[in-house]
């Protein structure tokens, strides 16, 4: 099978296209996903290829988007539901915190809920406090949900295909800043990326950095700069938060004895807290420096595009934090 260089957005598009071709039970709905092909162009051609029965626009009804997906799954479909911004998942609170993760469990496991919610997230383009969040932490604190946070086109495609075939509900966070980033992606329709397997993006021996989604490119850039100083950084991208590949992180920390977690969501109670506290407990004896988190500040995200840049970790900060931990 060949590989083609395509964008992250297009990789997501191909995953949906292939899975819809493979399985007639896969349907897609959300705002503007039909004729328009999505406000970010991610669903282009799907309406034309798979028809109005299976690709449907909805009104401003996030409660329906998520709750309707649960119902459709109960009825035997395998819905992909798109919210236009990940923030809107929080709008559909009952549906995303209750119906989606709990319906199966509450009813004694009587059915499966094979739903994928696609949620474009993160800071980009001055869209403000309610269109820029990275809410994966809220959902990680909700038992019953699987969570994907791809950082490359290949992972985006492979993880989304796994998600669509998974019988459990998956929230699939897409990073809007990455939509136009290109990468080599396999054309093999059976090449899946499994959930729960981290990817070591760069090997190193002095410090382990865990980052995902939009922070991976920034961390890799920082690692490159640090390499010039002779500092060797291992960069681990968990790719999915649930399940979380703890083994790969732990093995790396056993090697480097140092851990930094970098994420875009606000620091306090962000996903870094879970990883850091687990490391601080289970790897207590291995650590030669404090476990540190570098994350967004504890403020809503301003709409001013100049100011929003202050709301997620930048390369120089990552470099500085890494240096400090290594020199501890």
């Amino acid at each position: 099978m060949t590989s083609t260089e395509i964008t992250y957005a297009w990789a997501i598009n191909h995953a949906m296209d292939e899975e819809m071709a493979r399985d007639p039970r896969v349907v897609l709905f959300g705002q503007d996903v039909g004729r328009m092909g999505g406000v970010f162009g991610v669903t282009r051609n799907l309406f034309e290829k798979h028809g109005p029965e299976r690709v449907r626009d909805v009104s401003i009804v996030e409660h329906f988007v998520v709750g309707g997906a649960v119902g459709a799954a109960l009825g035997g479909l395998r819905p992909i539901a798109e919210v236009q911004f990940a923030d809107f998942l929080l709008v559909a609170g009952d549906e995303s915190f209750h119906k989606l993760p709990k319906w199966r469990y509450m009813h004694g496991g009587a059915f499966t809920i094979p739903v994928v919610i696609r949620a474009p997230s993160g800071i980009q383009g001055g869209v403000g406090a309610e269109h820029s969040q990275s809410p994966e932490g809220h959902y990680w604190h909700t038992p019953g949900l699987k969570i994907a946070v791809p950082s490359t086109p290949a992972d985006a495609k492979g993880l989304l295909k796994s998600a669509i075939r998974d019988d459990d509900p998956v929230i699939f966070f897409e990073t809007r800043r990455l939509y136009r980033v290109k990468g080599l992606v396999s054309d093999d329709p059976e090449l899946l990326v499994p959930f729960g397997q981290a990817s070591v993006r760069r090997e190193g021996s002095d410090l382990t950095v865990v980052a995902w989604a939009g922070m991976v490119p920034e961390v890799l850039a920082a690692a490159e700069m640090l390499a010039a100083e002779g500092l060797s950084i291992e960069v681990i991208d968990p790719r999915t938060l649930v399940p979380f590949d703890w083994e790969t992180v732990a093995a790396s920390v056993r090697k480097t004895s140092r851990l930094l977690i970098v994420h875009e969501a606000p620091l306090t109670m962000g996903p870094g807290a879970e990883i850091a506290s687990r490391a601080a407990d289970e790897l207590f004896a291995e650590l030669d420096a404090p476990v540190r988190r570098l994350a967004g500040p504890d403020v809503p995200i301003p709409q001013n595009m100049a100011l929003e840049q202050f709301c997620f970790p930048q390369v120089p900060e990552i470099v500085a934090a890494a240096r400090e931990l290594i020199r501890w």
Partner: protein, 319 residues
């Protein structure tokens, strides 16, 4: 006044009786504190549940509400499984997790469960209707809910989508005029719910919920519409006889109101109609006796199943 009419009404009466007899057992379990969760009695509302379910196919979907149990048994669910849920036994439909009505489930009979938060069933019924439409199954998705729940935003979001997509969905509002201690007239601007659905493009019926035959007739029309892709809505006017939950003595409510509600008992009304249709007192009372015996036996059987152990909490989270 044919034999057929009498037979039909006897069948409806039987379902109302079964629902009430089952509820009597649950009330007893609640009062004896063997069941220590909340139960919301449906006394007085059996006619709606029996009437609507009588026109449904086995494979039609049901999302029920918290008030009473008649929809479950009328839709075909085994009372042993229901009582197993109340008694917290692994033989209950949730395998020991559920300890009340809230999450009884019976996929075979299209009973797809209930959420703990009111209004869950609007969006879920829309999704079930979508599945039926896409999969060309000709099943309809029904959801029961109260006047209070009909204020939830999900009503509107699911409603516009159901109407736009012409989904095979039937919603049934059991309007008993109360939500816990709040009178509908005090907390919502109107007494009537059906106009809201009409404004969205639903076919609507407003019916006396105490008259099981009227409910059945309305449900027949409405379910046919829904099956043909015209979303439908039934508002059944009814009364809550008991408190919000078993044990609620309703200090916030007029005694007269309760007394009136009791008089308009759907089982009593059906008895009168049955006698008019030529049934004997014995016919009627034997149905009740059978229902009582059935539910007593069901409880005995439910008890045979063991209680779950602590590990049960880790089962069934993932597929």
């Amino acid at each position: 006044m044919s034999d057929q009419d009498r037979a039909d009404l006897l069948a409806l009466y039987r379902q109302m009786a079964r629902g009430r007899a089952l509820e009597d057992r649950v009330n007893a379990l609640t009062n004896s504190r063997e069941f220590r969760g909340f139960f919301h009695p449906g006394r007085g509302q059996e006619g709606i549940q029996a009437g609507v379910c009588s026109v449904l196919r086995k494979d039609d979907y049901l999302l029920y509400a918290h008030r009473g149990l008649t929809y479950l048994t009328a839709k075909g669910m085994d009372p042993v499984r229901i009582l197993g849920d109340f008694l917290g036994r692994v033989g209950g439909s949730t395998g020991g997790l559920g300890a009340g009505t809230v999450h009884c489930v019976d996929v075979e009979n299209g009973i797809m469960g209930q959420g703990g938060t009111l209004g869950s069933s609007f969006t879920l019924s829309a999704g079930l209707g979508l599945a039926s439409q896409v999969l060309k199954q000709d099943r309809i998705a029904t959801a029961f809910f109260g006047d209070g729940a009909s204020a939830r935003g999900t009503f509107l979001e699911a409603g516009v989508t159901i109407a736009a997509w012409k989904l095979p969905v039937l919603w049934i509002c059991e309007n008993n005029g109360w939500a816990v201690s709040a009178r509908l007239t005090d907390v919502q601007g109107t007494d009537d719910i059906a106009p809201r659905a009409a404004a969205l493009g639903f076919y609507t019926e407003v019916v006396d919920g105490q008259d099981v035959r009227a409910v059945q007739a309305a449900a027949r029309r409405a379910s046919e519409k829904a099956r043909a892709g015209q979303p439908a809505f039934i508002e059944a006017k009814t009364s809550r006889v008991e408190g919000h939950y078993t044990g609620d003595v309703q200090p916030y409510r007029d005694k007269d109101d309760v007394a009136q509600a009791k008089e308009r008992d759907p089982l009593l009304l059906a008895q009168t109609q049955l006698i008019e249709l030529g049934a004997s007192d014995a016919d009627v009372s034997s149905i009740w006796d059978e229902a009582v015996a059935e539910m007593a036996a069901a409880e005995d059987r439910a008890r045979l199943s063991p209680e779950p152990t602590g590990d049960r909490i880790f089962e069934g989270l993932w597929a």
